[in-house]
């Protein structure tokens, strides 16, 4: 147990919020410094840098409370000031990570905006090309009779069909000029 007896023999009680045997705010200073250093290390890792904002703010709060306690008790503030400075810098680095992520997101969105139209056009073209060469077959079964209709949607088949039809109708003049 700590001895809080002064030279005059009077028993001195520790102040509220103050750990016995430690100057005011020192425990908070240690907590703030440790949190701030850990925050600093996390903040410079891009993967998890954004999370560092939370411990950064905690470090700043701890250091601020510790500083106010230390100023009240007139105790040393070295650890507290170090914790506050490192905490503020770490939080700023963490904020910059949000800024970086936002900017990269924006950049990609702009690039994607242009690319999306190209992708849609490509897909549309591919679908139409595939439909051009598609072979459609319809089979109907009714009372034991079955009928199969084969319809080729291919471009070449359609051309052939058209040519055949044109050959068959060569004797019929259907032009408007001749009718007049």
């Amino acid at each position: 147990m700590e001895d809080f007896t002064t030279s005059t023999g009077q028993s001195q009680q520790p102040l509220s919020g103050q750990t016995p045997g430690k100057p005011g705010g020192q425990s908070l200073g240690i907590a703030a410094l440790i949190t701030a250093i850990v925050t600093f290390v996390i903040a410079v890792i891009p993967c998890v840098g954004i999370i560092a904002m939370i411990p950064g703010i905690i470090a700043i709060v701890l250091a601020s409370i510790g500083l106010s306690q230390a100023s009240r008790n007139n105790s040393p503030r070295g650890v507290l000031v170090a914790g506050l400075i490192i905490g503020v810098v770490a939080t700023l680095i963490s904020f910059s990570q949000i800024f970086v992520a936002g900017k990269i997101g924006d950049k990609f969105q702009k690039e994607w905006g242009g690319n999306i139209e190209n992708v849609i056009n490509d897909v549309q073209k591919n679908v139409l090309d595939e439909l051009e060469d598609a072979n459609v077959s319809i089979k109907i079964n009714a009372d034991g009779d079955s009928v199969e209709i084969k319809a080729s949607a291919g471009k070449q088949d359609r051309h052939q069909e058209l040519e055949e039809l044109e050959k068959d109708n060569t004797g019929i003049n259907d032009s408007l000029d001749k009718k007049k």
């Binding site: 045997g21 290390v41 890792i45 993967c47 840098g49 680095i93 992520a101 990269i104 997101g105 990609f108």
Partner: protein, 153 residues
């Protein structure tokens, strides 16, 4: 008996110093934190791929960042598979060395601080200087990457 009492006295004195000296407390807590980092790397397996921490940067932007694969890299280094660790994250090994060096420094500096109480301030200054330099050297690629991203945007 007297030897036991003397030993017990020196132990309680040591505990008392730890309670009194913020530097020793900070060193002790950091040793615990670094050991936790190593325990995390050892506990989660690169084969099972059950890491709880995901890259927030990749989630937000859709693009992998320079520190992606760091957990895998640490786990592989802990298991002695250093060449594979390089494949996961090229800078993983230097960050791992930073943590290992810090663990060693916390222990060594604490011992020196207890043994030579008069040189306390000097030791803290050396510790801070070496730690800052080590930090910059180890995390420089990540810091550069962040600056580059800000510049590009």
């Amino acid at each position: 008996m007297t030897a036991w009492i003397r030993k017990n006295d020196s132990f309680s004195e040591l505990i008392e110093r730890f309670r009194r000296e913020p530097y020793l407390q900070i060193n002790l807590i950091f040793t615990g934190v670094i050991l936790l980092v190593f325990a995390y790397s050892g506990f989660f397996s690169p084969v099972v791929d059950n890491y709880p921490v995901v890259c927030l940067h990749e989630k937000l932007t859709g693009e992998p960042c320079v520190s992606c694969g760091l957990s895998h890299s640490f786990s592989l280094i802990i298991r002695g598979r250093i060449s594979e660790a390089y494949d996961w994250n090229i800078y993983g090994f230097r960050v791992f060395i930073f943590f290992a060096a810090q663990l060693l420094m916390r222990i060594v500096f604490s011992v020196f601080y207890i043994k030579y109480p008069d040189s306390g301030k000097q030791l803290i200054t050396y510790d801070a200087a070496v730690s800052i330099m080590l930090f910059i050297v180890s995390f420089l690629p990540y810091i550069e990457w962040i600056i580059k991203q800000i510049d590009l945007s």
